[in-house]
């Protein structure tokens, strides 16, 4: 920030005496000056323009077009409907129990995944921040789940959580829970399905968040910890009183990221269904998320207008939740922003 703001200043200062010094070279110098000024003043904008052009084409336009579609009747199997629907799609949304069910599921899975995920990531990061043997090996190790293709890992988890031959039930059986006689049907009720899906999400993202935290932690000066240790603060207290407040911007960043990711959850619930094509998220929508419902309404019921309205509702919900999370996390971690 500070460098870009400071950069143009010397150019104008240097340009002024130059012009005064040699009057004969005025035209050439002015031309060069202009070039120079263009370089300093506008080139940064030109260089970041490609992103914004891409964003306008692939981000903003679809977003606005989606808003238009959400106000229309857009049924693929019935083109005879009147063009405009007004707010009909949105008012239908309010009374649609499928939508509220999906919203409920999405938040349930989001809570079961985000909270443990970020807490565990903190713990993992603070462990990795110590002096360890084969440090790089450990650090790369926690990132491996993130590298695994999400479809592949979900397929494996889907078998892991199967009722009859699943490893999850076998492991629980070792502790005397469930077991082969009374196996847990992971797809039969909300809580079990949510836990199964949240496990997949956590597995994938803990290492990724841990590395973000680790990077931030490394910028904390050692002597703060030393002083705390002399004052008698144990590792747990150090984590909560020193580490977390000092890496607070990164914590906020991960909270926002996992909010967005969690509310858009699609692949895991989709592939958790034995019949993935159905997109119903279980026989009674036990784990149908909003993203999944949007897919179903758009591409299976062929009602694109209604699906667009749902997408916009989801967009607004994410904005609100991310905002609330930002404020809450900021308070909790003692921020002053």
């Amino acid at each position: 920030m500070s460098t870009t703001r400071a950069a143009p200043a010397p150019s104008s200062r240097r340009a002024a005496p130059e012009r005064g010094r040699s009057g004969g070279d005025d035209r050439r110098l002015t031309w060069r000056n202009r070039l120079y000024r263009f370089d300093m003043r506008y080139m940064p904008y030109l260089l970041i323009a490609p992103f914004f052009l891409l964003f306008i084409v692939f981000g903003l336009f679809p977003l606005l077009f989606n808003a238009v579609v959400s106000l229309r009747n857009y049924r693929l199997d019935d083109p005879t409907l009147p063009y405009w629907a007004g707010v009909e799609n949105f008012s239908r949304l309010l009374g649609d129990e499928d939508f509220w069910n999906a919203l409920y599921n999405t938040f349930g899975i989001f809570l079961l995944s985000s909270v443990p995920q970020l807490l565990l990531a903190l713990v993992v990061a603070s462990l990795l921040n110590r002096k360890l043997r084969a440090q790089t090996w450990w650090r790369v190790g926690v990132l491996l789940p993130y590298v695994t293709p999400i479809v592949a890992s979900t397929m494996v988890f889907s078998v892991f959580f199967s009722r009859d031959f699943g490893m999850a039930n076998w492991v629980l059986g070792l502790f005397g829970l469930g077991g082969p006689d009374d196996p847990i049907d992971w797809r039969a009720d909300k809580l079990h399905a949510w836990i199964a899906i949240a496990t997949m999400v956590n597995w994938k993202w803990i290492g990724y968040n841990a590395l973000l935290y680790l990077a931030a932690m490394q910028s904390i000066p050692r002597d703060v910890y030393e002083a705390a240790a002399i004052d008698g603060a144990g590792p747990w207290k150090q984590l909560w009183r020193i580490t977390v407040p000092m890496i607070q911007p990164v914590v906020l960043f991960t909270v926002i990221l996992s909010t967005i990711g969690g509310l858009q959850l699609f692949t895991e619930p989709m592939l958790f269904d034995p019949n993935a094509q159905a997109a119903t998220g279980g026989p009674n929508g036990e784990w149908q998320t909003i993203a999944q419902l949007i897919y179903k309404v758009g591409w299976k019921d062929l009602n694109l207008g209604y699906a667009a309205a749902m997408s916009w509702a989801l967009f607004l919900i994410i904005l609100i939740v991310a905002g609330v999370n930002y404020v809450v996390t900021n308070r909790l971690s003692g921020g002053r922003k």
């Binding site: 260089l47 199997d77 797809r187 034995p274 026989p283």
Partner: protein, 427 residues
């Protein structure tokens, strides 16, 4: 001075390259093959499961060196939904698209998007087809025929002789048929089986519901497109819930991994068998050869499934596609498919052909499939399947699954099924 020049030039290059990349990304990719240039034609056929086309493809390509056939097998629902999307988009549909009877009404109401096969001279086929089969793909005004039938479902019961023997039940197919003249008796036999072996009798409640529904006079919809759950669906639903409550169902989901595993592990002993199911069993559990046999279905005739081949109008090689379509429904090929995967042709004249009439399926303990299925198909009065038949069936199947996994009480199930079906009808 020189330094600032190179600096500027470098920056400009970066900017320009980025802009070019943006332009390239938003540009239209070129489409279309080199088909026409050398007279080569590629015909794409979309279907699901096993239509028995693998060997026929090689044969046709050998006879027609300028034609390449591309077989594209997908998931049942996905293929139909995909076709619907492509029809609306006006681009991307295959040259030949298979459509199941469950989705036929939906597509024949868009007959303007398909090639009218009557224009191609398909009218001569009318007399060769089972009359109801011919009518199923005919548009409401009778002027447009969008497809030619391939197979019809028919119904029978496949059962495992080895498991029946272990449970002390008869294994000979006539004796087995005599065990269950109706569905009540069928459930009783199932209870005997589970009591004796402590194993499940049927694979899934949904695979009891569908065949029973197929036997009823009316299905989910009247021919006025009104949802009517109190007729056929109620009968089928009640038997299904009764069987589930009696603990007969292995609670598997059709066409999924655990279901396929069930065929090999003996997770269930009987399975409702339309003709097309034979191919699936053979493909999934080749190790169970000779352990299966086929008996009559309780409650008499009925139909479950059966497909048509259609030609979407947007294809580039409509004439070649029609030539291939005619070839595929010709008697020789239909008999070949019947022998290979069990799909029963929809042209009754073929039933008298010794190649079918005398055919015994070695995989199913030499059951006379050439006698069992044609008899069923000829005695049929099929139901009308509404436009929303597909989604409605999925909705009711989901309610049955909830009864099976005990998240829904059997007493409350019917009201729930009506509610869900209603929702699907309006979706």
């Amino acid at each position: 001075m020189k330094r600032s020049w190179t600096h500027w030039a470098r920056a400009a290059t970066v900017g320009a390259v980025s802009l070019v990349m943006v332009a390239a990304c938003s540009g239209k990719s070129t489409t279309g093959g080199s088909d026409a240039a050398d007279g080569q034609v590629t015909l794409k056929i979309n279907f699901w499961g096993d239509f028995g086309l693998q060997d026929l493809k090689a044969k046709y390509e050998a006879d027609h060196p300028n034609v390449k056939i591309q077989l594209n097998s997908g998931e049942y629902n996905a293929q139909h939904e995909d076709l619907q999307k492509k029809l609306v988009a006006g681009n991307g549909a295959p040259d030949i698209a298979a459509i199941d009877e469950g989705f036929m009404v939906q597509f024949r109401s868009q007959s303007d998007k398909f090639v009218n096969l009557l224009d191609k001279g398909a009218g001569s086929y009318e007399s060769k087809y089972l009359p109801w089969k011919w009518k199923q793909s005919l548009s409401a005004d009778g002027k447009t025929q969008i497809g030619l039938g391939t197979d019809v479902g028919g119904l029978a019961m496949c059962y495992r002789t080895d498991l029946f023997k272990a449970a002390g039940l008869p294994t000979e197919r006539d004796q087995v048929s005599a065990l269950w003249p109706d569905w009540d008796k069928f459930i009783e036999v199932g209870q005997q089986y589970t009591a004796k072996t402590h194993k499940k009798f049927i694979d899934a409640g949904t695979n009891l519901f569908n065949p029973i529904l197929g036997q009823q006079q009316v299905g989910f919809y009247s021919d006025q497109e009104q949802l009517q759950m109190d007729g056929g669906p109620k009968v089928a639903f009640d038997y299904t819930v009764k069987a589930v409550q009696a603990g007969l169902s292995a609670n598997l989901v059709s066409f999924q991994a655990d279901w396929d595993k069930g065929f090999t592990s003996g997770a269930f002993a009987v399975l409702a068998c339309p003709a097309w199911m034979l191919g699936h069993i053979k493909d999934t559990a080749p190790g169970t050869q000779g352990k299966w046999d086929i008996a009559a279905v309780p409650g008499g005739g009925g139909n479950w499934g059966g497909s048509f081949l259609t030609i979407p109008k947007q294809g580039k090689h409509v004439d070649e596609a029609y030539k291939l379509l005619e070839w595929l429904v010709a008697p020789e090929q239909q008999i070949e498919i019947f022998k290979k995967v069990g799909n029963l042709p929809s042209q009754p004249a073929l039933y008298a052909d010794p190649a079918i009439a005398d055919f015994k399926n070695p995989f199913f303990n030499n059951a006379p499939v050439g006698q069992i299925f044609p008899k069923m198909a000829q005695g049929l009065t099929p139901q009308y399947l509404g436009r929303k038949n597909g989604p409605t069936r999925v909705a009711v199947e989901n309610v049955i699954r909830r009864v099976e996994n005990k998240s829904l009480k059997p007493d409350a199930a019917w009201a729930e099924a009506v509610k869900e079906a209603d929702k699907a009808a309006k979706s």
